[in-house]
């Protein structure tokens, strides 16, 4: 692929069966979410949460780096992790819309994390059985980290949902707002049933209602993003774009 696509329409619709495309999509998910969580550090409601958020951000970054590096090898054009992360434009990123959504209040951060962690729990346990040993190894490692993330996000969602009147209201609002980005999680896979069951049982413990709004927004996997991604990338890619080709 040509990095920094100049074509306004972005990349051609990706072929989901292509390994490079698949690796890049999961790398982008983890990269973008890591970047979002990175914005939060020093802003958390208490020091322990700052530490946890930093840790989760770092884990997603580690997964993204491993996947970008592997994607670069699969592609065979010598692209490094940094080139793949820093020199593709908004229309070329194929992350899920969910992960690019702003941090919002702590309820939004937690709901976003929870919905995504529950999805990645299915993803990693699936990919851990991949015939591709390298990918299976990465997935097995990511699954362990993800289990910790899910414990954190589900634990907080229950505390918020079943905490005070205010926290319950905020958690339900965040859930209602972010629900529109969930259908996309299941494009091209069969994770929906397991995900709905896991999410449903945590929401019930949290005394939160599963939203019934049928409106669903999709398009992340083909580069049709919300307006939030461009700004996130502008910040993330600024140094590499300003000083291309340098070693840091």
């Amino acid at each position: 692929m040509t990095l920094v696509s100049r074509a306004p329409q972005g990349t051609p619709p990706p072929d989901p069966g292509d390994k490079f495309t698949m690796l890049l999509a999961h790398a982008d998910d983890n990269m973008v979410l890591s970047q979002r969580l990175g914005e939060l550090i020093s802003n958390a409601p208490e020091l322990e949460i700052d530490i946890a958020v930093g840790n989760i951000s770092l884990d997603h970054l580690g997964v993204a780096r491993a996947l970008y590096t592997y994607a670069g090898e699969v592609e065979g054009e010598g692209h490094s992790e940094d080139q793949l992360a820093m020199f593709r434009n908004e229309r070329d990123f194929t992350n899920l819309l969910l992960v690019e959504q702003p941090n919002g209040d702590f309820a939004h951060t937690i709901v976003r994390q929870f919905l995504f962690d529950a999805y990645q729990a299915e993803l990693w346990s699936d990919l851990a059985h991949s015939d591709d040993e390298q990918l299976a190894g990465m997935a097995a490692r990511a699954a362990k980290e993800n289990a910790y993330h899910l414990r954190f996000s589900a634990g907080w969602l229950v505390r918020l949902g079943d905490g005070t009147y205010e926290s319950h209201h905020r958690a339900q609002l965040a859930l209602d707002e972010l629900w529109q980005y969930t259908a996309e999680l299941f494009e091209g896979n069969e994770y929906r049933e397991a995900w709905e069951s896991a999410v449903g049982s945590t929401l019930s413990e949290a005394t939160l209602d599963v939203p019934d709004d049928p409106y669903q927004r999709t398009g992340g996997r083909s580069g049709f993003h919300t307006e939030h991604l461009g700004l996130l990338l502008a910040e993330m890619q600024w140094m590499q774009r300003s000083y291309p080709g340098l070693e840091w």
Partner: protein
């Protein structure tokens, strides 16, 4: 034997004072002030470095930086815990910080304006902190000295990472080297100020030395730091912004110029470039999080009630 006498014997024998031991009220107060100030510094220090997490130039550097900022938060936690052994709690100490009644290291009242600042903070600020803190591993108060052993190990790792970041810039393009020079120009003097006033003007030094909380004077530590850092700057090939800096063969030390003490006191008193922003940022995070902490407390008590039922 009188408490006071027994206490001083333990200190003089280089044994540790533990939380349950008798201690003079002044000793307790001095330690609370010092440990809390140190904890606050770690926590406020997350801001200038956090400022570059989203813009780090490579994924490798971003990972190092996130891990580092996370370590600072961890140091804040151990230190607040060490302070809690003296009969105060973290919330009350944070409240004093928010009200401006507690200080933190003035160094964090300067902004991080280019990527090299992240290297300079590791190299100079963590370097100065280690110079100060190595003596604290031998501090007479057990919990503080033990916390410092771990913190010093992590800080010296950070210092090497910061220096390595600058080596990379200084071996890079002229533009990258200029970033490193700009960072050194802005961070050098504030780093020297980290050691505090001259010994002759330091109000706490004498008593703290007798109690073995502090073991080396401000000016001696500052000299140690200069002697250690000048050759490192030479290796990088960037110049320290001090026309009076030169090797003094008679003393066996570097001579260096006068610190701008007006600037030092201005920043200490709250009028540095970033004092207001740093505290406002901290207060905002705390206030924005109030409903989250309330939710956690409410949930915990509901859960206890359910278990009891």
């Amino acid at each position: 034997m009188a408490n006071e006498e027994r206490f001083q014997q333990i200190v003089d024998a280089e044994e540790k004072i533990e939380p349950t031991d008798w201690m003079p009220e002044g000793y307790r107060k001095t330690l609370i002030r010092q440990i809390a100030q140190h904890a606050h510094s770690e926590v406020i220090g997350m801001q200038p470095e956090g400022n570059w997490i989203t813009r780090a130039p490579s994924l490798h550097r971003k990972a190092i930086l996130i891990a580092k900022v996370q370590d600072e938060a961890g140091h804040g936690l151990y230190l607040y815990s060490a302070a809690e052994t003296l009969g105060v709690n973290r919330d009350e100490l944070q409240e004093l910080l928010h009200q401006g009644k507690h200080k933190y290291s003035s160094i964090f009242n300067y902004p991080t304006l280019n990527w090299a600042d992240i290297g300079a903070i590791g190299w100079l600020v963590d370097g100065a902190a280690i110079t100060n803190q190595v003596m604290l591993t031998r501090c007479s108060y057990g919990p503080y000295s033990r916390a410092m052993v771990r913190i010093c190990k992590e800080e010296s790792f950070h210092q090497r990472q910061g220096y390595e970041l600058l080596i990379r810039l200084c071996q890079g393009t002229p533009e990258q080297k200029a970033m490193a020079q700009d960072a050194l120009n802005r961070w050098w003097w504030p780093s020297l100020m980290m050691f505090g006033p001259h010994d002759s003007d330091s109000t706490h030094t004498e008593q703290s030395m007798a109690w073995k909380i502090k073991r080396v004077s401000n000016d001696d530590l500052r000299q140690q730091f200069v002697d250690m850092t000048v050759p490192q700057a030479n290796y990088l090939g960037i110049s320290i912004p001090d026309p009076d800096l030169r090797w003094n063969a008679d003393r066996g030390h570097y001579d260096f110029g006068d610190i701008d003490w007006d600037e030092f006191w201005r920043v200490v008193k709250g009028n540095g470039p970033m004092n207001r922003e740093r505290v406002a940022h901290k207060v905002k995070a705390w206030e924005d999080g109030a409903w989250v902490r309330e939710a956690a407390t409410a949930y915990a008590s509901k859960k206890r009630a359910r278990t009891a039922a």
